[in-house]
């Protein structure tokens, strides 16, 4: 077993920066009250890149992901320090409104969480609250396009007005993805989107992530190393709140630079 202690002054190994970044994070620290959950993380997420974040339970990868669209704001006592920028604009700068930010950075959660409304209402919700559609026809088009992109249109086009909660787990998760892309965000954050799904549904979502990466930047937290290997361009390995290694996915899974990464991917702990 490798030495699991983390150095006080840890340096991330690998290629944590990107030439054409969508989001840049520098020296990010996240605290829950007194407890520090994220230690000094610096990383870039490139345009139209799929970035996978892996690591053992409690390593802070979800916390880090949630600070990218300020979902941590809703958590009592949570504090984010450091610089998180999107297209050069600081997120925690008061000038950038959180509502606007979340329209630009969409999120898909671990457990499928469609609203207890119709499928149509679910997808149309974002467009409605942000005033993106001028007419009913516009809205219909947004709904159809988003469901199409999420690969769900064929399955649900005859029952758009039935409750979204009546779909299967995998369909619900694709509905949530459709809902997120309906407002055409630049970045989509996915927090273990397949952990509640069966293998077949998981495969569909993974295919979908591949397709979406043509138009969107995606950051995905996952427990499954195989999934990270299948869908992502680069992989970041987190350990006890520190970013240990960032490298192209292929390299991480074949020749990890850091011994902790190696220990994790070879299944010695995690």
């Amino acid at each position: 077993m490798p030495d699991m202690k983390v150095n006080e002054k840890h340096v991330t190994v690998g290629k944590q920066f990107h030439d054409d970044p969508r989001m840049t994070m520098r020296n990010v620290n996240v605290f829950y009250g007194e407890k520090q959950a994220i230690h000094d993380v610096s990383i870039d997420i490139g345009k139209n890149e799929v970035m996978a974040m892996i690591g053992p339970s409690g390593c802070g990868k979800s916390t880090f992901l949630r600070s990218l669209n300020r979902m941590n704001d809703t958590v009592e006592g949570c504090r984010v320090e450091g610089e998180i920028c999107m297209d050069g604009e600081s997120l925690y700068n008061t000038k950038l409104d959180v509502v606007e930010l979340r329209a630009r950075v969409g999120m898909v959660f671990q457990k499928p969480n469609p609203f207890p409304k119709s499928i149509y209402e679910n997808v149309a919700y974002g467009a409605k609250i942000h005033g993106l559609a001028d007419s009913r026809i516009d809205l219909d088009e947004i709904v159809e396009n988003s469901l199409n992109k999420a690969g769900l249109w064929k399955e649900v086009k005859d029952r758009l007005h039935q409750p979204g909660t009546g779909l299967s787990g995998g369909q619900q998760q694709r509905l949530c993805i459709a809902r997120a892309i309906a407002v055409t965000p630049e970045v989509i954050l996915m927090d273990e989107p397949c952990s509640a799904l069966d293998p077949i549904a998981t495969a569909r979502i993974e295919e979908l992530i591949k397709e979406l990466s043509e138009n969107f930047t995606i950051a995905i937290v996952t427990h499954s190393m195989q999934q990270a290997a299948r869908v992502s361009d680069r992989t970041a390995y987190f350990h006890l709140g520190q970013l240990i290694e960032v490298n192209p996915t292929e390299q991480v899974f074949t020749m990890p630079e850091h011994e902790l990464t190696e220990g994790y991917i070879t299944g010695r702990f995690g």
């Binding site: 009592e76 959660f109 969480n113 609203f115 207890p116 919700y125 949530c176 997120a180 407002v183």
Partner: protein
């Protein structure tokens, strides 16, 4: 160390005891429920057996001659003449004609006592409704006096109660009964009139209307205020000492004896703001104070039961906190809130003590027409009637309790129905 055979033996030994304890638990639970049901059954049987009589009242068939001369009326459209006319004279004439044997002041008085004091006014209304009747005759069922009513009902059931009857009156009733001119009829008065000193004239309609007006005020105030407070405390308020303090005090308020709310209402609404006393308005205000904590507590529970994943989904879509509440939290928690509100309303409907303090215990004959008319409410009416000495009020009291209980049952069933109907599963 125990070997597995020894362990198995011990487990088998303990099984008997375990199942015994389980059976004891089961039976004590069943006994508790049976006891509860039995108590409810006894209550219902007792009240129904006492009160069902009040839904019918004794009436006497008399041949009434609307004699314009006897009334001293020549114009039916002259309010003054109608007001001053002696309507009882019609009844007295009819009764004398029926029983010419009544002689002397005393017997005449007993004879006139067969019918209700207020029956003359019923004839007035009949005549006004149909002016052609003037100077003609018709057979009319006239409502009997409450003593006659009590006697006749007890006589029919084979156990006559004749304490307040004279021998003459008993004879007359037997004669009337032979002629088929005395009978039990559905008591319209009970459902159309206000309170009265005469049991046969007293009805609960005034109290029902008073209760409705009072509850309308209570609901219109306590539901929006309670829901708004709950939403603020649950969704927007920061968690600090002040909100903790508020929370503790809301829970305390729910446990404050209701009469204290009555005193508060008397001091603030009546003495300071000069809201008219005895009115549904002030009653509703006081009951609002009393119901608010219940509604706030149940609404907060309903809001808490909305899964956080729904909130996160909406926030993640870029909904503002206000939109999260309006679009998601409120619709999802509405069934729970409504259920809480209805239960609070049912409490308010049955509340007596605070209303005594603000004058809703007054004797009010007129049926309230609005929020500021003097009124009384159902439970207070029950209290008033239970306090009245006339024997006929005993069954009236039970009848009023039956009406109140049926309102409560309907409200609670509505609450259950709403919960079943609107409940969503995630």
């Amino acid at each position: 160390m125990n070997n597995s055979a020894e362990n198995l033996r011990r487990i088998q030994k303990s099984l008997k005891k375990r199942y015994f304890v389980e059976r004891c638990f089961l039976w004590s639970g069943r006994a508790a429920i049976t006891l509860g049901l039995l108590a409810v059954l006894v209550l219902f049987v007792d009240i129904t057996s006492k009160g069902y009589g009040a839904f019918r009242s004794t009436e006497i068939l008399l041949d009434i001659h609307y004699d314009a001369d006897a009334l001293g009326i020549d114009n039916l459209h002259d309010e003054k003449q109608l007001a001053f006319a002696d309507w009882d004279v019609l009844l007295k004439n009819a009764l004398r004609e029926q029983f010419p044997d009544a002689s002397g002041r005393k017997e005449r008085k007993q004879l006139y006592g067969l019918v209700s004091n207020g029956a003359g006014f019923d004839l007035k209304e009949r005549l006004i409704a149909n002016p052609k009747l003037l100077n003609t005759s018709e057979k009319v069922w006239i409502i009997a006096d409450d003593d006659i009513d009590t006697y006749y009902k007890s006589w029919l059931s084979g156990d006559p109660y004749a304490e307040r009857m004279s021998e003459k009156q008993i004879q007359w009733i037997e004669v009337l009964d032979e002629q088929g001119a005395i009978a039990l009829k559905f008591s319209k008065n009970l459902f159309t009139r206000g309170d009265s000193r005469e049991p046969e004239q007293a009805g609960i309609w005034g109290a029902v209307m008073g209760s409705l007006f009072t509850l309308a005020i209570t609901f219109c105030l306590s539901f929006p205020i309670g829901v708004a407070a709950a939403i603020y405390l649950e969704e927007f308020a920061p968690r600090n000492r002040l909100t903790d303090f508020i929370e503790v005090n809301i829970n305390n308020l729910a446990a404050v004896p209701s009469i204290i709310f009555g005193l508060l209402g008397l001091a603030i609404f009546i003495n300071f703001f000069h809201v008219p006393r005895s009115a549904p308005l002030v009653g509703g205000l006081v009951l609002t104070l009393m119901t608010l904590p219940t509604i706030i507590i149940t609404s907060r529970a309903a809001i808490k039961s909305v899964p956080p994943s729904i909130r996160e989904a909406a926030l993640g879509m870029g909904a503002s906190r206000h939109q999260v509440v309006m679009h998601h939290v409120l619709p999802l928690s509405m069934p729970g809130m409504l259920t809480g509100a209805i239960i609070g309303m049912a409490q308010a409907l049955g509340e007596t003590a605070p209303l005594l303090m603000i004058g809703m215990v007054a004797f009010i004959v007129d049926i309230p027409q609005g929020f500021t008319d003097p009124a009384t409410v159902l439970p207070v009416q029950i209290f008033l009637w239970a306090d009245s000495p006339e024997r006929a009020f005993v069954e009236k009291t039970s009848a009023a309790i039956m009406v109140l209980l049926s309102f409560l049952i309907v409200m609670n069933m509505t609450a259950v129905w709403i919960r079943k109907r609107l409940e969503r599963r995630w």
